[in-house]
Structure formats: C-alpha cells, structure tokens
C-alpha cells in the first residue's frame, strides 16, 4: 500500500510535467489544426536552456536557491518562447494555406533540426546536474516497511504546475488574447473579419505553448537531474498521447491526460516492467485514438457530407 502511495505521488509529479507539454499540443491543434511535431523538442530546448542558465548563475556565485530558480525560470521561459515563435514564423506560417501534409512534414523537419541542433551545439552526451533542490518529507513510515516520501522537488513541480495552470486559465478565459484565441479556434476567417489579428494570435499561441514547455523542461531537469538531446521525441509522443486522451482542444483535458499518462507510466514500471513502459504509453495512444478519438473531455465531431 505504501509502495502504491509512493508510485501515486511519483506518477502525479511526472504527469504534471507531461501535462504542461500537452497543453502546448492541444492549444496549437485547436487553433491551427496541426500536430506540432517539434513541440517535444521545444521542451528539450527548454531543459537545455535551464541547464545552461543554472550553470552560469552558479558559476557567478549565486547560491540563493529560490532566486536562482526564479531567474532560470524566467530566462528559460523567455528564450524558449522565442524558439517557439521562430519555429512558427519560419516553418509553419508560410504553409498555413498549403495542403494538409506540408505543415506536418515541415514540423517533422523542424523537429530534426532542433534535436540535432542541440546535439551539435552541446554534444551528444547526457548532461548530468547535481541535485539543486534537496530534501523532502517522509509522509508515512511503516516500521520495517516502505517509507512514503514527498521530496521538495516534487512539491516545487506541483506548485509550479498549479500556479501556471491558474495563470493560464485566467489568460484564456478573461483576457483579450484568450478571447481572440478562442475565436480563431472556432472560425479563423470570421475572426479576421471582426478585427482579430489572426497571425499575432496564432504566434502567441505557439509562444505560450513553448513557455509552458520550457517550464516542463526545467522541472524535468530539477526532477531527474539530466537532459539529453533525445528526450524531446519520446516525451513529445507521450505528451501528445496525454492531449488526445484528455480530448484534443480541451485545456483541462490536456492536464488530466498528462496526469493519467504519468500515473499509468509510473504504475506500469513499478508493477510490470520498466523496459516496456514506453510501449505502454504508445499503446494507450493507439487505443484511445481508435476507440475514443474525442478523448475524455473533447467534443465529438459529426461528419458533414
């Protein structure tokens, strides 16, 4: 039971990271109808930027952990958001009115560019980082049994996720930008006719998605203590699975899906086999798309003939 509780905690934390990435996928799909294959690699870039920022700050003698975290968070969100903006401008915007396959292939190309760029720029080896946030709490300790622990890192991840989700939900529901995003999602042409700057709105969608992915990258770095250039590919597919599971186009669905995938992956590795945990995640994607394509919170589509 204690083991199970520990896995639950671990799963939810991992799931928060997936959820943050999944939001980017679901927002972009909702507004431009494309799967941003490069989004997972944006997450990876976010992790790298966080890593390098940490390194620089530490080497300059900055040791106050909360301050360092805050600076790294802001820097990594800003720069990664710029990556997201650039990718959209270069690879997707020119293709917006092209045929269906073009943005997808462009996205795949961009994914290769990003992952290989980081491999070339930073070397192919995994980069380890000593734990930045240490310590935690023992929640429950059965004598002679398994101690259920909640580490500080985990608390930070969950709090960051919750705070960002709140900010973001407020953004979509209350601000002008959020309203524009929702309008573009429904009917781009009409939104444009009513004065919405569609190009800018779409750009901002990518930017916000990238910023959230950057946070996910930083959390990943804090939690696992390493980054490598390949982590975007697998995390990307899992996060997309989360988005689909939650219902593509639905923001709470993306988070819900992320938590679900995180839990499933953790529980599967704990109770069945670690080697096949990725297979489990990919299989869920297939099963969901075949049997429940609208996901948990999505809206069903009726075919218009």
């Amino acid at each position: 039971m204690d083991y199970f509780a520990q896995q639950l905690i671990n799963g939810l934390v991992l799931g928060s990271i997936y959820g943050l990435i999944a939001i980017g996928y679901t927002m972009v799909y909702g507004i431009v109808g494309m799967i941003n294959f490069a989004h997972g690699d944006i997450f990876m870039i976010g992790g790298f930027i966080a890593l390098i920022s940490f390194l620089i700050l530490v080497s300059f003698g900055l040791t106050a952990v909360p301050l360092v975290l805050l600076i790294v968070l802001l820097v990594s969100m800003a720069i990664t958001a710029l990556y997201g903006w650039t990718v959209e401008r270069i690879a997707y915007r020119p293709l917006r009115h092209s045929f269906r396959l073009a943005p997808m292939l462009s996205a795949i190309g961009m994914s290769f560019v990003l992952s290989n760029f980081s491999q070339v720029a930073q070397g192919a080896r995994v980069k380890p980082v000593p734990p930045i946030i240490t310590g935690g709490y023992t929640l429950y300790d059965a004598k002679g049994g398994f101690a259920v622990q909640l580490s500080n890192v985990q608390i930070v991840v969950v709090i960051a996720t919750v705070v960002l989700l709140l900010i973001f939900t407020w953004l979509v529901a209350r601000t002008r930008l959020g309203r524009d995003m929702r309008a573009c999602e429904q009917d781009q042409t009409m939104a444009a006719l009513l004065g919405v700057d569609v190009d800018r709105t779409i750009s901002m969608t990518f930017v916000i998605g990238a910023a959230l992915a950057a946070v996910a990258g930083m959390m990943y770095l804090l939690y696992y203590g390493l980054v490598d250039f390949y982590m975007g590919f697998v995390a990307g597919i899992k996060a997309f699975t989360a988005a689909v599971l939650g219902g593509i186009g639905s923001l709470p669905g993306a988070m819900l899906g992320g938590l679900a995938i995180g839990l499933i992956e953790t529980l599967w590795s704990a109770y069945f086999s670690v080697e096949y945990k990725d297979v489990a995640a990919f299989s869920i994607l297939i099963v969901v798309l075949i049997f429940m394509p609208t996901g948990l919170l999505g809206r069903p589509e009726v075919e218009k003939v």
């Binding site: 799967i35 795949i108 190309g109 720029a121 990919f282």
Partner: protein, 443 residues
C-alpha cells in the same frame, strides 16, 4: 525637367526604403538569432572528468553565426524581391516545363539502361557499387511507401516497421531454419504484409494527422519490442550470421563448389556485390512494374480515388476498408522484401537501423519525388542518399541539414520535383494533370 527629377527622387526614395526595410529585417533576424543562440551556442557544456558539469564559452562561433544570419537574411530578402513571392513554383517557365516533361520520357529509359550498366562501369569501385545498392534499396522503399502515401493518400509515418519486420523475419527464418534466400524472401514479404493488414485494420477510421501519429507510434512500438524481446530478437545485439544469398544454390564463395570455381574464373568478393546489386535491381523493378500495373487496374484506381475524395468513393459503392487495407498490405509487402534484402546484404541486423529517422527519410523521398510519380521517387532517392553520402565525415550535421531541407522543400515545392500526375486510361491522348489539381489525401 522638374517632373523627371521628381520622379527620379521618388524612385530613389522607394529604393532607399527598400534597402532600409531589408536592413531592418536583417537586424531583427540577427537579434533573434543572437538571443536564440546565446546560450545554446555561446556556452558549451560537457560532463567533466569528475562527473560534474563544466562549460566553456564560444563567443566567436556565436558571433559568426549571428553574422551569417544577418547576411543570409539580406540575401533571402533580395531573392524574394527578384523572384516574386517565395511560395511560387513558377521559377521555371511553362515552356521549359513541358520541354522537361518530354525529356522526362527519355530520362526514365536512359536512367534504366545506365543503372543496368553500373556494375560494368564501376566494377573496380567497390564504394560506388555499395552506394548504388543502398540507393536502389531506398528506391524500392520509396516505391513501396509511394503506394500507401502517394497513391492512396494514407499518411504513414511508421513505414520502418514493415522494413524491420521483413528484415527480422528473414534473419530469424534463415538462421533458425536454414532456409535459402529464395524461400525466406517471399516469406518475409508475406509476414510483413500480414503485419500491414493487422496494423491497417484498427487505424482505418483515422484521418490525416491522427493516422500519421498512430503509424509513428506503431513503428516505435516495433522497435521497442525488438530491443526488449531479447530471447527472440537478440535485443540490442541484433541477429548476426545471416547467410548470404546464393545464385540458385551456388554459393558465391571462394570454395571449390563456389560460383567462381565453377566458371573457372578467379574468385573476387566483388562477385557477390554485383550479384546483390542485380538482386535489388530486380526487386526494385518488380516493385515498379507491379505498381504501374496496379494503377491501371480497378484497385489502383480505387486507391487514387480514395486519395481524391473518400466520401465520393463510398457513394460509388467502393469498400473503403478493404481498399485501405490492400494499400497497406501492398506497401508493407514491398517494405518487407526490402528489409529482407537489407538483412541478407549486411549479414547482421540490429534495432539501430530501424528508427523513426528511416521512416522520415523514406517519406521525404516520396514527397520530394512528387507523390505518385515513379520516376520522381527514384530521382529523389538518388538525390537524398547521394546527398547523405556527401556528408561523410560530417555525420553530426547530416540530420540537421536533412531537417532544414524538409522545411525548405515544403515551403518552396511541396508537390515534389515531378509536378504532375499521369492518367491511367485515356480515349484519345494522355495529358498530364498538374499537381495543383491532385489532392494529397487525408488518410
């Protein structure tokens, strides 16, 4: 006089604003590049000797990269103003285009003859022969995927799965049961084809992007299963000792009962290479012939109609399910056969050869070639694999350039190098249909 000077002044002003505009854009691009590359290029991290992370700065490289972006931005802007909008594919005037299509009819036979003669021309250059075999393997893969993506319009991002199933089926059949190449080859193809049907069945209802990502997931699952099912596939160590093909039972070895000995000529390892070359050439040509014939048969026409408009197909009484399944099965068959060839050529296979990169590469070949065009796909395979070879020694940059090439290709010429489709039946004259009219399919 004053009118002329006023007009000249106006023109000068426009030109100046043009230059000003370009400079402004270039500066903006350079600034963006500076921010993007500041940390990733400017700082280089590495795991240090004692396991901690160290770094050093590379400001020189950062500066040159930013400068390159600045210059490049100016160049692109100038090009754009000279050629009109960058999205136009009208760089080649129509008269040249129709001239090219006449030449196109000659290119195919000429290329075919040349290909037959490659082992003769390059007999001593083992490197070229190996490269040619590699190119032909990808040509066959391209033609196979062309059936699924180009003809039927089904977005398959996991084609490598069939390649892997074919390769591993062949390897395991040959090493465990000692069956000959000519028996194992069709068996591997059939197994791959069965896998294609099994894969196709559940994913039929999916469209476009969803189909793409599900096929990608299937491809990854196959690879992960291969890596982890060590007892069957040998895991990361792969399968080795795969027997080489024989010329109908006559081995191509230096032994006394070998091919060379029988013919009374001196043995050379090139014999086997040449033999393999003609085997893959025959297989590729078979793929081509079957595809061309199928296009003229109702099933092939149904594939293309499916790509054009699935709803209309249903209204005409065409069973969409079986049509999609046959497309998958046929594409998988050819992929599996290519995989079997790959296994026997290498003598050793491991999961590293069957990653998503392969699927992306074959898909890029099909799209670059102009979906549905046999000649286009062959030329594209030649260009891609040839291009890859140019990056010998610069392997790290290879995939980076490949990614960039894909993005640029989609922006400039999404329809591929062959911009038209040839109809499969005609009353009076066969007139090529421009790619602008041809739908790309939604899965």
């Amino acid at each position: 006089m004053s009118d002329v000077t006023a007009f000249q002044k106006e023109r000068a002003a426009t030109r100046a604003s043009g230059i000003f505009f370009i400079l402004k854009k270039a500066l903006l691009s350079a600034f963006v590049a500076l921010v993007l590359f500041s940390l990733m290029v400017g700082i280089r991290t590495e795991a240090g000797p004692t396991g901690q992370l160290i770094y050093w700065t590379r400001f020189g490289e950062l500066a040159s990269l930013v400068a390159a972006v600045f210059v490049g931005s100016i160049v692109i802007e100038l090009l754009r103003q000279w050629l009109g909008r960058a999205g136009a594919s009208n760089i080649i005037p129509p008269s040249v285009q129709s001239g090219l299509s006449v030449a196109g009819k000659l290119i195919a036979p000429a290329l075919l003859i040349f290909t037959f003669l490659v082992p003769v021309i390059f007999y001593d250059q083992r490197y070229i022969l190996d490269l040619a075999i590699l190119v032909l393997t990808y040509v066959m893969l391209g033609w196979g995927l062309n059936v699924v993506v180009g003809l039927a319009g089904l977005l398959d991002l996991g084609y490598v799965a069939f390649y892997a199933v074919g390769a591993y089926s062949y390897a395991l059949l040959a090493t465990n049961f000692g069956l000959s190449f000519w028996v194992c080859l069709p068996l591997a193809g059939i197994l791959a084809s069965l896998w294609g049907v099994m894969l196709g069945f559940p994913v039929l209802r999916l469209r476009g992007d969803y189909l793409a990502i599900v096929t990608l997931a299937f491809g990854e699952i196959i690879r992960l299963v291969i890596v982890n099912w060590q007892s069957l596939t040998g895991g990361p160590n792969g399968v080795s000792g795969i027997p080489r093909p024989t010329l109908f039972g006559i081995p191509l070895t230096p032994d006394d009962d070998g091919f060379a000995a029988r013919l009374g000529i001196e043995f050379s390892p090139t014999h086997r290479v040449v033999f393999l070359f003609y085997v893959i050439l025959a297989m590729a040509l078979l793929t081509n012939w079957v595809t061309i014939r199928l296009r003229r048969l109702p099933i092939g026409r149904a594939w293309e109609a499916l790509r054009e408009d699935e709803v209309a197909c249903r209204a005409l009484g065409i069973n969409i399910t079986t049509t999609k399944l046959t497309a998958f099965a046929t594409g998988a068959l050819f992929g599996g056969l290519a995989g079997a060839f790959f296994a026997t050529r290498q003598g050793f296979i491991s999961p590293e050869s069957f990653t998503f990169n392969e699927s992306a590469l074959v898909l890029a070949i099909v799209v670059l070639g102009g979906m549905g065009s046999q000649l286009g796909v062959a030329l594209a395979a030649l260009a891609m694999i040839g291009g890859f070879e140019l990056f010998r020694g610069l392997e790290q940059y290879r995939m980076l350039v490949f990614g960039l090439a894909m993005v640029l290709l989609m922006i400039w010429r999404p329809r591929g190098i062959i911009g038209h489709r040839a109809p499969t039946v005609f009353l009076k004259r066969s007139e090529a249909i421009s790619s602008d009219l041809v739908k790309e399919g939604h899965g």
